[in-house]
Amino acid sequence: MAAAAPQPTASAAPFDPAPAPRRPRRSLARRLPVEGLSLLAGSLLWEIAGRTMDLPWLPPLSMILADLVTLLGQESVRANIMASLQALVIGFAISLVFGLVVGALMGRFRSVEAALDIYVNALLVAPTIILIPVFFAIFGLGDGTRLSVVVVYAVFVIIINTMTAIKTVDPAMVEMARAFGASEAFIIRKVMIPASMPLVMAGVRLGLGRAVKGMITGEMLVTFVGLGALAARFGSQFDMSKVFAVSLIVLILAAVTNWLAQLVDDRLTRWAD
């Protein structure tokens, strides 16, 4: 009923009955920018708490923002951002190719799925961070460690989603194409790929989010470059305002990459809305 029946009051739950005869009208709460107001209130609260309580771990928001501007102005910081981005892009590209190929194979061939399923699932649910010391032991302080951390964070969710996507393509659709005499290649290109795209893209977007986390975590643990290394350095100096500022940079990075992925997703899966 929720879709059709206008909500009579602001606090009405999606399933509240609205039995009384009355003219429906748009409620106040619907028109208020609640999200923005909430964010503003939270920021103010932080600022006030930071100023009055004077806790070392809770610097006022204004100070963090000032530090953010300062940091972005520094050549060395920008170099670190570029280093992080490089690891992210290369690591994610590897994850994408590897994840799509392995996921597609697992989705198409039962034998591949049977062989790999348990490892993929184990590595998807197990705490990935535990593998970082292993990579460090193998690759040392080089780019190999940074990249492999990004890959191991991002790749499994891409594999799982791609596999599920291929497996759940409507068999009726494939049968339809066969009935029209379509070749196997044609079916893959014109039916399987478009049909599996929404779920695949969902996996790619999740993978991208995880890649950002892998990048920063790997850098914090094992290398001397990148945003993670910056955060680790400020952390060990107990300069909390700068730690928050670096986190903010990472957050912006995550938001921008997610937005880019969203653009690609929207283009590829326009039919699905």
């Binding site: 909430s38 964010l39 649910v125 032991a137 060990s236 730690v243």
Partner: protein
């Protein structure tokens, strides 16, 4: 298949000649030693899991009611949505030093990091579970004159249980990550301390063995969660 994988591991490790890579057989010997020789794994696990259990419990107890409330109240949901987005996107690792500054090198610091890792996924899933309740069932309950309370206990919460459990499972995995992350990054204790120590002493077999223990714990806990879910929500196979 398992045999093939283990053989591959053994052969590859022998051929690699990398001091960072342990063979399967060496790893098993180290695992045996960790369990029954020096027995260090038990104390480390116990120590680590204190933070996990506390952090996960606090996460569940806060996130589930909050998720239920946000699933029901549109205004609360919208007020929380920017923070949800931030918590979902932000990597927690850089925040570890902040928790240490706030709580010192204590259990509280480790617990707070575990919460930061886990809480958001439980919240998001619970909320989604409430949101995805079949409105036709809610309408049916209304038609039979059910009170708000009845609708909650008999329709909304049972409907949300599968999604809620999915969130708890993801949260559990994340809580484990948080537990290890804080130990590797700053508070060298538990399995994290073990890992770093053996890494620095160039004993890769012990590093591998410790990793296997943590992965085994993760899988065991998830299986346990699945088991409980089947008991609580048997209609959802």
């Amino acid at each position: 298949m398992l045999v093939a994988f283990l053989t591959f591991w053994e052969v590859a490790a022998r051929l690699a000649h990398n001091i960072g890579i342990a063979t399967f057989s060496d790893t098993m010997v180290a695992a045996w030693d960790l369990m029954f020789g020096n027995g260090r794994i038990w104390e480390a696990m116990l120590n680590s899991n204190a933070a996990l259990v506390l952090g996960f419990a606090i996460s569940a107890v806060t996130a589930v009611p909050l998720g239920l409330a946000a699933g029901r109240s549109r205004i609360l949901d919208r007020a929380l949505s920017p923070y949800t987005a931030i918590l979902l996107a932000i990597p927690v690792a850089p925040l570890v030093p902040i928790a240490i500054t706030a709580f010192g090198l204590s259990l509280a610091a480790r617990v707070s990091i575990v919460i930061l890792f886990a809480v958001i996924f439980i919240y998001v899933n619970t909320r989604a579970g409430v949101r995805s309740v079949d409105q036709r069932l809610v309408e049916m309950a209304h038609a039979f004159g059910a009170s708000e309370r009845t609708i909650w206990t008999k329709v909304v919460i049972p409907s949300a249980v599968p999604a809620m459990f999915a969130g708890l499972r993801i949260g559990l995995g994340r809580a484990l990550t948080g537990m290890v992350a804080v130990e590797l990054l700053l508070v060298a204790t538990g399995v994290g301390k073990l890992l770093l120590e053996y890494r620095d002493r160039l004993q890769p077999a012990y590093v591998f063995a410790t990793v296997l223990f943590v992965i085994a714990e993760a899988l065991l806990l998830l299986e346990l969660a699945r088991f409980i879910e089947r008991k609580v929500a048997p209609w959802n196979d």
